[in-house]
């Protein structure tokens, strides 16, 4: 049971990033303002640029790709450069595809955390931020519509597993920064965000079906 703690935290760490597109909370006045500043579209797609600095590796690892968030369906995270790779998080499974074959699959039936992640994710997208507030202490500032939120896990175990998360944004989240306890560091910058039914390509839409 305890081991799954760690997995859960790790997955949740990833989730927190994914979910951070519109993550804020009403814990403090600035956070409430941030929540108000955020647009909450049903479908949102865009480009991401990720910089990863892993301990033990000199050069930062640069990658980019496309992401989509569809309320009620899930999240699609397609790395295009340098190694094509697709990650799909839905209510029933977390699936990682590589070169057209499934590299990793976590079924909700096998792994209950999958369903939990989705539940948390969906409540986030629906604007119910109480879930995130339960897990994280939110510390936010807002200035001229641009905001910054620091998330710190309330549980020491979780904090140790996923480290600190910082979010920057305006109408949408612009940047996520993660600093893990192991020293690994990740920056993700979002751009070219589109919303509405046309934001998602038919291929992307098909992946959710």
């Amino acid at each position: 049971m305890i081991l799954s703690f760690r997995i859960f935290h790790t997955i949740l760490g990833a989730l927190a990033v994914t979910a951070a597109f519109c993550a804020t909370a009403d814990a403090a006045a600035p956070v409430a303002q941030i929540q108000a500043a955020l647009a909450k579209p049903a479908i949102m797609c865009g480009r991401f640029d990720q910089t990863k600095q892993l301990t033990g590796i000199k050069k930062p690892l640069l990658s980019n790709g496309r992401f989509c968030v569809a309320a009620g369906k899930g999240v699609l995270w397609q790395t295009l450069q340098p190694f094509p790779n697709t990650l799909r998080i839905t209510r029933n499974a977390i699936v990682q595809m590589q070169n057209g074959r499934v590299a990793m699959r976590l079924d909700a039936q096998q792994e209950p955390v999958v369903k939990m992640i989705n539940n948390v994710l969906f409540s986030l997208l629906a604007g119910d931020l109480s879930q995130l507030d339960k897990l994280f202490e939110l510390d936010g500032t807002i200035k001229n519509g641009n905001w910054h939120v620091a998330l710190k896990a309330r549980e020491p175990g979780l904090a140790k597993a996923i480290g600190d998360i910082q979010l920057d944004g305006g109408a949408y989240v612009n940047k996520v920064t993660m600093q893990e306890a192991s020293g690994d560091h990740t920056d993700i910058v979002f751009s070219g965000i589109q919303t509405g039914d046309k934001a998602m390509t038919p291929e992307e839409g098909a992946m959710f079906d």
Partner: protein
């Protein structure tokens, strides 16, 4: 109490010797009381309850018994509660309300919680140094089949992506570049559906989220006082949870719930059946003697019988089984006959006859009764079953002590004017004169033929049942809760598992691995969902080294996957060398003893028996069994591997019951034969008259069970043994020349039979299947013995001179 005796005794030497013996017996009884008080109050001994301890020692298996103890102990003191709601937050709220109430009584129940963060760190540290030794079967296959290119691709995409290649990332990238450890941990996680969530344990099923609460029971689950406190506490906590969240579902399971249901049932039955039986017997004695003294005396003789049997048996065996106490104590019930015989004879004897003279006259009959019972029970002592031997010795001792009490004390305690016959007793006694007699004439043969047909027809239909499950009756809602809880938590079956043995821990683990490979078919066919085994966590050294070599060969070799990664991310040979060294440092072999001693191994400790005797043993438990009728499929796997044994406790206990039923049946037949020989020595050709009533009553009762479709159990056979003991006594009463008329012998039979009906026959009302079986046999059999015995008494009064 000897004062009166003195005045009656005159100055002859025999009474003085009698008085000396009576006093000596008083000393013996005082010693028995003292020893019993010491045993129960000072030493606080408790009888054995393990039903497998009743098996002969050759079948008795230390490792197997330890395995059961392990499985039982790991479950016995636990209370498992699931609090569910559609909404997780509400489920947590209800669970908190539940816990708040339980928390008020820390001396009864304690929640099992640990500091999650601390536990997690400790958990991983168990495996941290052995990362390179651990692989799942899937990873093994992939490593063998996939090329280094594929592995480096996977690792690179994991580096760039958010998830590891084989599963979620665990810790720093450089400690698990290929995600093998993360994948292994993920596979281990799937052995249970329980997950941590918000500092609680969480299970999800059917759209409901459940909070899992694990509690440790502080007092023993079998302590009745604890049950009386804990059960209301659990009920209140459930109420509190439902008050807080009306839609909350609360499922509770634990041995204590079953134990309490059993005690409660036994308690309320004891109150009604026990009171009914006591009132009946008191009334019976009052109507017969207009005095309660007789019942006190009867109780005294039986009580001393039980005390003596307990003390001496304990000294002989050093331990006693609960079943011995239950069965033995009921067989000691035959001892009532000695006292009743004396009392009725006193009632029928001439007022001028001294009680000691009376005893002298009764002694042959009393001696024969004791001898018949002792010989009857000795058959049980000759079987190889320790339980039967204990029961036989216990019963014989009990009868002997009760008998000696009657012989040594009753003449001094009962005098000619102690008892008065009542009109009712007189009327009943005279009844024997008009009783129909069995004769070898036409009517007699017709009756005999009809009876034979009935018995043959009935006995041929008689079925047997030794299924332990038929012997327990658990309230349905408890079973429902338990089944649901078992499904939600995917718990292993506690009564069926594999016992794996070997000369060393390593051999045990290797055999577990062989067993798991054999079980893969059953898993693929979804007969079981998986197994719990220590080797899931600690593979054999052989496997660990093979896995280590596979990883080193496929991933860390100079031209392997690691080299490809280095090129892709523009790192040099030194980097590759450093990372290789870093990973190779995690090659410490994992050992089972260290694992079960660690926090990570805590939930699996019950599976590892370690060294038992000169061998090692472990348990492989089966999860998610979908069809109990296919247990044989699992059993058939065991013989394919050395040192692996399929254990089915339900079947084993049933087979114990079956052996006992069979051996007891043989003991019963042997008892009939030996008692018949013994009676023949005294009654010659009239011996059949004494043995016919219990024999016919037993046959008729069994035939009736056959006709009504009630299967024969051990408890029926036990009752038959008691029927024989009492029935033969009645034969002896009626065959012995009674003072004045035979009618006082008939009064003896009546009193004994009604007492037996009231004390044993009323158990037929019990809802506990074994007690019901025992009681019903006694009820029908006793009534038949009672009614049949005068038919075979013979017209002519038996003449002593004939012998």
């Amino acid at each position: 109490m000897t004062e009166r005796a003195d005045s009656d005794a005159g100055s002859s030497t025999a009474p003085r010797a009698m008085r000396g013996l009576a006093l000596a017996w008083l000393l013996v009884v005082a010693l028995l009381l003292g020893h019993n008080a010491y045993l129960w109050l000072v030493q606080r001994v408790s009888p054995d309850t393990d039903i497998l301890a009743l098996l002969p020692s050759s079948r008795h298996d230390d490792a197997m018994q330890q395995a059961f103890a392990h499985m039982v102990d790991s479950a016995q003191q636990k209370v498992v509660v699931l609090v569910g709601e559609r909404d997780w937050g509400k489920a947590v709220q209800a669970a908190s309300a539940y816990e708040a109430l339980i928390g008020k009584q820390p001396s009864l129940l304690q929640a099992m919680t640990g500091d999650a963060a601390q536990l997690q760190g400790a958990w991983l540290s168990t495996f941290d140094q052995s990362r390179l030794m651990l692989l799942t079967q899937e990873q093994r296959d992939k490593l063998r089949n996939d090329s280094p290119q594929q592995w480096s691709q996977l690792a690179l995409s994991a580096m760039y992506g958010m998830f590891g290649s084989g599963g979620p990332k665990l810790g720093a990238w450089q400690d698990d570049p290929f995600g093998l450890f993360g994948g292994w941990v993920q596979a281990r996680a799937q052995e249970t559906p329980v997950r941590p969530r918000d500092g609680r344990l969480f299970v999800e099923s059917g759209g409901r989220s459940y909070v899992l609460l694990l509690m440790n029971l502080q007092p023993s689950a079998f302590s009745i006082s604890a049950q009386e406190q804990v059960i209301p506490l659990l009920d209140q906590a459930t109420q509190a949870a439902k008050q807080s969240v009306p839609d909350a579902e609360v499922l509770t399971a634990g041995v204590i719930l079953h134990a309490a249901a059993g005690s409660r049932q036994a308690g309320s039955e004891m109150a009604t059946i026990g009171a009914g039986s006591l009132i009946g017997i008191v009334l019976l004695m009052w109507l017969t003697f207009r005095s309660l003294k007789p019942i006190a005396l009867i109780a005294l003789s039986i009580a001393i019988g039980c005390l003596g049997a307990l003390s001496v048996s304990w000294l002989l065996f050093g331990r006693l089984h609960l079943l011995t106490l239950v069965f033995g104590a009921s067989l000691v019930g035959i001892a009532q006959d000695y006292a009743i015989y004396f009392l009725c004879a006193r009632l029928g004897a001439n007022r001028h006859m001294d009680s000691r003279q009376l005893l002298h006259r009764l002694l042959p009959g009393l001696g024969l009764m004791l001898l018949a019972a002792v010989i009857g029970y000795l058959g049980m002592a000759l079987t190889p079953f320790p339980g039967l031997r204990q029961m036989a010795v216990f019963s014989v001792l009990g009868l002997l002590f009760a008998w000696l009490t009657v012989i040594l004390w009753f003449p001094a305690l009962i005098h000619a004017d102690s008892l008065r016959s009542t009109a009712l007793a007189d009327r009943y006694s005279r009844g024997i004169v008009k009783w129909p007699q069995f004769r070898f004439n036409r009517i007699g043969f017709v009756l005999l033929a009809a009876f034979t047909v009935f018995v043959v027809a009935g006995l041929t239909r008689l079925k047997v049942s030794d299924d332990i499950r038929a012997l327990q009756k658990t309230p349905q809602h408890l079973l429902d809760d338990q089944i649901k809880l078992g499904k939600l938590l995917d718990t292993p079956t506690p009564a069926q598992f594999y016992l794996v043995r070997g000369e060393s821990a390593e051999i045990v683990l290797q055999r577990e691995e062989q067993l798991k490979r054999q079980l893969q078919t059953a898993i693929d066919k979804k007969l079981i969902s998986g197994v719990q085994a220590v080797s899931n966590w600690v593979p054999s050294q052989q496997q660990q080294h093979a896995d280590h070599d596979l990883i080193v060969d496929k991933l860390l070799a100079p031209q392997g996957a690691l080299a490809a990664i280095a090129t892709a991310i523009d790192e040099n040979g030194q980097w590759q060398q450093d990372l290789r060294q870093r990973l190779l440092a995690q090659s410490k072999p994992l050992l089972p003893d260290a694992f079960v001693a660690s926090p990570a191994g805590q939930p699996w400790r019950h599976l590892w028996l370690g060294k038992t005797g000169d061998r090692y043993a472990s348990i492989v438990a089966v999860r998610g069994l979908s069809d109990y009728r296919q247990l044989q499929v699992l059993a058939d796997v065991a013989p394919k591997i050395d040192g692996v044994q399929w254990v089915d406790k339900v079947a084993d206990i049933s087979s114990v019951l079956s052996y006992y039923r069979q051996y007891m049946t043989w003991a019963l037949l042997a008892a009939y034969a030996t008692i018949f020989v013994l009676l023949s020595l005294r009654y010659r050709r009239a011996a059949w008259r004494a043995i016919a009533p219990p024999l016919l009553a037993t046959l008729a009762t069994l035939a009736l069970f056959g006709a009504t479709g009630q299967p024969l159990q051990l408890f029926h056979v036990l009752a038959c043994l008691l029927l024989l003991g009492l029935g033969v006594d009645y034969g002896i009463f009626l065959q012995e020349p009674a003072e004045r008329h035979r009618r006082f012998a008939w009064l003896t039979v009546g009193l004994s039979a009604i007492s037996a009906l009231l004390s044993f026959g009323l158990l037929a009302l019990s809802s506990s299947p074994p007690l019901h079986a025992f009681g019903l046999t006694m009820l029908i059999g006793m009534a038949l013995v009672w009614l049949a015995s005068p038919c075979f008494a013979g017209l002519q009064p038996y003449s002593h001179d004939a012998s």
